[in-house]
Amino acid sequence: MDEFDAIVVGAGMGGNAAAYRLAEKGASVLLVDRGKPIGSKNLSGGVIWGHELDKLLGSDWYKEAPVERPVTRKGVNMLTEDSEFSIGFERESWRSPPYKGWIVLRAKTDPWFASKVEEAGGMVVEGVNVESLAWEDGQVVGVEQAGETIRSNAVIIADGANSRLSIDMGLREDTGDQIPPHAGALGIKQIIDLGEDRINERFNIDNGAGVAHEYVCGWTEGEVMAGGFLYTNKDTISLGIVIKIDSLWNQEKVSHRIMEEFRTHPSIAKYIEGGKLAEYGAHLIPEGGLDYVPRRYGPGWCMVGDAAGFCFSNGMVIQGMNYAVGSGVRAAETVLEAKQAGDFSAKKMSSYKRALQNSYIWKDFERFSDMEEVVWNPRFHKTYPQLVEGIFTEMFTQDETPKEKTRDVVKEQMKRLGISPFTIGKDAFTAGKNL
C-alpha cells in the first residue's frame, strides 16, 4: 500500500492550495518544501488578484491570514529619465468585500497557508529538498529524497519557476536545462521600512486602503526592457523591478543597477525618502506562456503554478498567484477523481488539462500571447513614454511662440520618434482587445 494518496512538492501558493483541497476532502497528503521555515524561499510582488482563495478558503480568509492591505487604488505610470505620466484609478467599493486584490508578503502568508493544510489533516514537512520523482513501470510512484523513496499514488509538482523536477523529468529538453532566456523575466525587489504613518500620509490613504503602482521604465538605455512596481504594505513598501532577461543581451547593463535607478528615480524617491531597507531579494518570473511547458500531467502526476508556466507579466501587471491557486485546486480535484476510480493513469490524469482548458485560466493565457507582443516591445517601453513626454512638454510650455494645435503637436512628436499613426493604432487595438 502506498503511504499517501498524494505528495505535493512545494508549499507556495500552488502547492498549498492543492494540498489544502486534498486534505479537506479527506485524502492523505504530504506537503514538502525545501524552505525552513516554509515561505523563506518565496518572493512575489505581490498582489493576489482574483478570487481563487475566496473559493478555496471561504470569502473571510483574509481576516485570519497575514495580509497587508487591500488594493484600493491602482496606478499605471510611464517614466522617462525626468518625467512621469500617470493614470490612477480608485474605487470606494474596493475597500470592502469582495476585494479586488490583497497585497501580501509571501514569507508571511505561505507558512500560514501551510498551517491551514495541517489543520485540514495534511502532513507538512519543511526544510526538505525533493531530489527527484520515483518511477515504476513508467508511472510516478512517489518522490526520492536522500536515497529514500516516499510512496504515493500521485505527485503534484508545485516547485515553482525554477522547477528542477521538470528538468529531472526531461520536460525541458528542447530548451536546454532551464527555461529559455526569452521566456523569463528577473524580478528584483526591495522591502523599505517606512512606518504606517508615513505611508498613510504620503499616499493619502488610511489603514483600510492600499496602493498598487506599476511603472513602464522608459528611461532604461539601449534595448533593456523593464517594468517597475510599488505596493504599500502595512508599514513597509514593496518596491521592485521586472527585467525581460533576453533584453539584457549585449547591453553591458547590470540588472541590479536598473533596480537602483528605479529606486532613486525622483518619482519613486519622493515616496520612500527616509525609509530603511529591510530586505533585498530576487526571483525568476516564467513568462513563456503556454508554449514552453510540453506536458502538465502524466501517469501519476500533475504540474501546477509557475512550474507549469501559469504566470504572466508584461511590465504593467504581474499575475501568478491566483493562477497558481486555481491550477493547484484543479490538480487536486483530478487526483481526488483518480483516487475514487482507483486509476492514476495518464488518461485519467488528463482530466486536469481539460479542467484547465474549460476554465478562464487557459483562455487568459491564450489571450496573453497576443498581448506579449505589444507590451514586451521597445515601442511600449521606450517610444510611447517619450511620445507622451514630448506631447505634454510641448503643450504645457509657454515660450511666447504661437501655440500649435494639439493635433499638430502630436504629429510632430510622432515624426520626431519615427512612429506612424498606423503602428500606434495597431498597438492600441491589440492592447484594447486584450486588456
Binding site: G184, H265, P266
Partner: protein, 101 residues
Amino acid sequence: MSLNLTPDEKVDIKALLGATSYNFDDEEHAHITITPEICETCPHHMCMYACPVNCFTLVDGVMTFQYEDCVECGTCDIVCTPGSVEWTHPRGGFGVKYKEG
C-alpha cells in the same frame, strides 16, 4: 529632476544584502559551480550582467563565482548558454532565508 544615481556612482550590493538573511552551507555543498575553462571562450559573460547580487566577477580575466550571496533566482543558469553554470537548489533549509518575501 534627473536620476539621483549618477552614471559613475557604484551600486554597493554588499551593503544592500546586509538586509537579507541566510543560512550559509559549507563550501563543499555549494549549490552552484562554474567551469572557468568554459568561461574563457564565453562570447558574452551574461552571468555578470544578469546576476542581481554580483556573484560573478572577472578577476584578472578569469571568471570567479561565490555562492554565499546567491538568492537562488536561477537567472545565471538561464543566461549561461555555453553551459558553464551547474545549478541546483541548496540542501534543504540552507541558503537565502526571506523574512518578508
